[in-house]
Symmetry: C2
Subunit: 254 residues, 2 copies
């Protein structure tokens, strides 16, 4: 099963701690990984066909504290589509002058949406087909850049449609917000003042967030499974959409 990791914060924050937790869990996920960091409207996008443990790209990310307000990471176990670079999540497209990033955990059976618009898959995964369809439908639903709230309401209508074909745990961002949709396995945690020490579930490692934060900092983390043992991770209800902005849950449609 693929692993997802999403982070949203109100101040640029690195994900070295969480990514280490995710990569440790990846010994059976040798089929590629990817991670995307928003920095203002810009995007750093790293993917590799190698697994997240051996890859020089993953090694660099673990050492280089890239600070970002929204991060989406994915560790792949190939089910549909070959082990090729064009099948590595997260996928990126541009819409309305913003980059959009998408990662998916799960399988969609017999999923062949009508792609008559401007977004076409480059690889051959069900995930990229779903992303292209979502982008196409967002582009049709709004003439110009909508607000985060409007996007959330549109996504709440769209996301159940691919989900009818199977498991559709999804992370999506345009840099302004992080949308997380869970159908089977997705959890989130929100960190705020007073920050405490957190211990990784899979590795003998802990970090004292109080030493690295200010009282104003807010950070939300979404993952396939809780990454830490001593924080309050909240599971998603089947079909639940959560929207995070500035490190906190946000909006009437999330």
């Amino acid at each position: 099963m693929c692993q997802l990791l999403g982070m949203n914060a109100n101040t640029p924050t690195d994900v070295m701690f969480s990514f280490t937790g995710l990569a440790t869990r990846a010994d059976e996920h040798k089929d590629g990984f990817g991670i995307a960091f928003f920095e203002d409207r810009g995007l750093r996008h790293f993917i590799d066909r190698d697994g997240a443990i051996g890859s020089p790209v993953a090694q660099m990310i673990k050492r280089y504290p890239i600070k970002s307000e929204v991060v989406i990471a994915h560790i792949r176990k190939a089910t549909v589509g070959s082990v090729a670079l064009q099948n590595c999540h997260p996928f990126v497209r541009e819409l309305w002058g913003r980059y959009w990033v998408f990662a998916h955990n799960g399988d969609l059976k017999d999923y062949h949406p009508r792609l008559h618009g401007q977004f076409r898959p480059v690889g051959d995964t069900d995930s990229e087909r779903a992303f292209c369809w979502l982008m196409q439908e967002l582009a049709k639903a709004h003439a110009d850049v909508p607000s985060v709230d409007e996007l959330s309401c549109t996504l709440r209508e769209l996301l159940p449609q691919p989900a009818r074909h199977g498991t559709f745990n999804v992370l999506l961002s345009n840099g302004q917000a992080l949308w997380a949709h869970g159908t089977t396995k997705l959890w989130s945690v929100e960190r705020a003042h007073p920050f405490t020490a957190a211990t990784l579930a899979d590795e003998d490692l802990s970090v004292d967030f109080a030493a690295h934060t200010t009282p104003q900092d807010r950070v939300a983390v979404v993952a396939t499974e809780p990454l830490t043992t001593n924080e309050t991770w909240v599971p998603f209800e089947p079909g639940e959409l959560r929207v995070f902005q500035g490190g906190v849950r946000h909006g009437r449609c999330g």
Copy 2:
């Protein structure tokens, strides 16, 4: 002035030698760099606001032999647009189920093309505007995926239009071919059997290509200035378009 580097080969080839030459030349180009590697239809895309000497991303690229059939790299000296990640070349968009990569050297004065299509700039450079306009016009010119020859002929009509606004040395690829358009400073070299040793122009470094190649290998390199001192670099005529496929000059419109 920004530096451009393009590579096209008939077998996956690394660009560590050429990238080292480019990065050495970059001490006055502290405003970001980027490099994109095609691997089949997939793409590795690295950008950094830091210069190509100090950046951990650049360090990784110099050590990690990423083999690719098409590479486009850019080292930036900001003239238009702030030093932000969204302004770092190369830029990427998807069209017809292929990623397209674009890097530009030069300034376009008063260049505000009508962008009524599906491609919008994320940053605020004249270069990204030109790229979005090119993608828009390619999408209009062909209903579906054209051949490399057809693309070359369309590009030969399109590229002079932005070039009327200033310097427009450009590298463009969709992974199938490398299009290079020069208006002021662009050179290319083609390497083929029998391979010899090449010496970098700016660094006390040489590489014996014969030791790293087979007689069938063909490699073309395009750069703002010749990178080596003992090879035959051919300057572009003003407004010349060259198309490289499988490591050699190609086609009737290139």
